[in-house]
């Protein structure tokens, strides 16, 4: 095993910030009361939860009562999409979405389609964008539109503000899966006219097992579960106090340090892109570097070689990266996002995602660039498609 370790899989999960860990440690061994309990220990938990709620609301310019705590981004997406449909979406009204959404948006919508709801999935271009005129036309017939803020595989940032405006005008409820942007991009749900938003703490240096759904006041949904009275009965179950507190703290930190982190990531992104593109027959997926895309994401493809094989070779050099999305790595099928932007399956299989985080530095990406040349070269040597060619 390599002694140098470079983790470039921050889109899959991030380490918990030390300051976050410090804040949550007391909730394991001292302040362990059930936050719904009447006694001091419980009230202490509830106060900490309410503070986290306020921090989170503030970070996206929502009201504290508009935040519903969940266990993950997946749960937030399911809660909103299924919950809104079940709460009485008229069957003649569409659910509108687009091709590059995460499975945690697409699959719930497919489930609803099977139950008789009308759904519409917009096609996208090579950069991952759908046609805004098409969206506008469809939005009129839609009861719910779910468009992610930024794509987890190729980094495309969607024009959320424009989409929010259209939806508000058409009376369409607008949900955005912001799992990849909360804490990374500025979000103002009021200005952006967002009605519902999903986030997951472990993507912004918070703990795993905590997420939230912002739901604009007045929008009715049904819960996925029923039981106790927590979260206005929309999400019952004993509060995950340490998870919630950690999420609040993590988002507060991330928002404060957002601009710095982004600047640093942009530099690394540019450097990494440059070095990877020195490899013959390689390309970048998603919008051009420097345009409408996440600063921490770089999806790059390499002809004649396969992703998992590259990953394992990188791993031997201490480098962590991913193929499509970690979430679907159990499946052998090429990523629906990469196929969606028009890649042929073999090219989709030759794609890697590098995702930067605040633990990385410019030396890291230089190291990755160097090792990638070796890895691609070695694998091309054994590939029947082409002999190894490095510029």
């Amino acid at each position: 095993m390599s002694t140098k370790q470079v983790y470039l899989d921050n889109a899959a999960s991030t380490p918990v910030d030390k300051r976050v860990l410090k804040e949550i440690l007391p909730f394991f061994g001292e302040k362990y009361g059930n936050a719904s309990s009447v006694h001091s220990s419980g009230r202490e938990g509830m106060e900490a939860i309410q503070k986290a709620r306020e921090k989170i609301a503030k970070a996206i310019n929502a009201e504290p009562e508009e935040i519903i705590f969940t266990s993950s981004g997946t749960e937030s997406n399911n809660l909103l999409i299924k919950g809104f449909a079940r709460a009485g979406l008229e069957k003649e009204k569409h659910i509108l979405t687009q091709k590059t959404e995460h499975d945690a948006v697409l699959h719930p919508i497919e489930e609803l389609a099977k139950q008789g709801f009308e759904t519409r999935v917009l096609e996208v271009d090579r950069e991952g964008f759908f046609q805004m005129e098409e969206f506008e036309k469809e939005a009129g017939r839609a009861g719910l539109a779910s468009i992610m803020h930024a794509n987890n595989e190729i980094g495309t940032i969607y024009p959320i503000k424009k989409i929010g405006k259209i939806c508000r005008e058409k009376g369409t409820v607008f949900h955005t899966d912001a799992v990849q942007t909360v804490g990374k991009e500025k979000i103002n749900v009021k200005k952006m006219k967002i009605d519902a938003l999903s986030a997951s703490a472990h993507k912004f240096y918070g703990p795993k097992g905590a997420g939230f759904l912002y739901l604009k006041e007045g929008i009715k949904i049904e819960g996925l579960m029923s039981g106790g009275g927590q979260e206005r009965k929309l999400r019952p179950g004993t509060y995950n106090t340490q998870g919630i507190v950690g999420m609040g703290k993590a988002l507060e930190i991330a928002n404060k340090e957002m601009n710095n982190a982004k600047e640093k990531e942009k530099k690394m992104q540019k450097e990494l892109a440059k070095r990877l593109m020195e490899i013959d027959d390689s390309w970048i997926n998603g919008p051009k570097i420097g345009s409408k895309r996440l600063a921490n994401n770089l999806s790059a493809g390499f002809e004649y070689v396969e992703g998992e094989a590259m990953l394992i070779k990188l791993d031997d050099y201490g480098i962590a990266a991913s193929t499509g999305s970690a979430c679907s790595s159990d499946s052998l099928k090429a990523s629906h996002v990469l196929l969606g932007i028009g890649l042929r399956p073999r090219r989709a299989h030759g794609t890697l995602r590098f995702s930067l985080g605040k633990q990385n530095n410019i030396q890291d990406v230089k190291y990755v660039g160097e090792k990638m040349k070796k890895v691609v070269g070695e694998l091309r040597n054994i590939s029947p498609l082409k002999k190894g060619v490095i510029k």
Partner: protein, 133 residues
């Protein structure tokens, strides 16, 4: 990949054997798996041993995942020196055993390697038949 690869798989992947082309191959079995995009080209060179046709050399070039590279490499090791007919009888379980097991989702890779070898052997027999006409 929720199930880890065995040590043996990783060894075959890290130091694959018999990788490359045989310049004067007697036959090449070219196979591919459309779902996962894998491609394997199996090269064979046939020789004689005590009157029997054996695989004097087997080489492979693989585009594919860790399992694909490891299985193709393991198969060439197993097949080298075998009589042609026997080599045709290697099963995917034989390969998996040689590799100390394979994750279920990756069992098809061993199938692909086998198909490649069989296709090469068939091609060889085909050519022999043509010649004998």
């Amino acid at each position: 990949m929720s199930e880890a690869y065995s040590e043996k798989v990783m060894n075959y992947f890290r130091k694959p054997k018999n990788i490359g082309e045989i310049e004067d191959a007697d036959a090449i079995g070219k196979v591919g798996n459309p779902t996962c995009g894998d491609l394997m080209w199996v090269y064979i060179k046939v020789g004689k041993k005590e009157d029997k046709e054996i695989l004097k050399d087997v080489k492979v070039k693989t585009f594919g995942c860790v399992a694909a590279i490891a299985t193709s490499s393991a198969l060439t090791e197993m097949a080298k020196g075998m009589e042609l007919e026997e080599a045709g009888k290697i099963t995917k379980q034989d390969i998996a055993d040689e590799l100390g097991g394979l994750p279920p989702a990756k069992m098809h890779c061993s199938m692909l390697a086998l198909d490649g070898l069989k296709k090469a052997i068939e091609e060889y027999y085909g050519k022999q038949y043509e010649k004998s006409k």
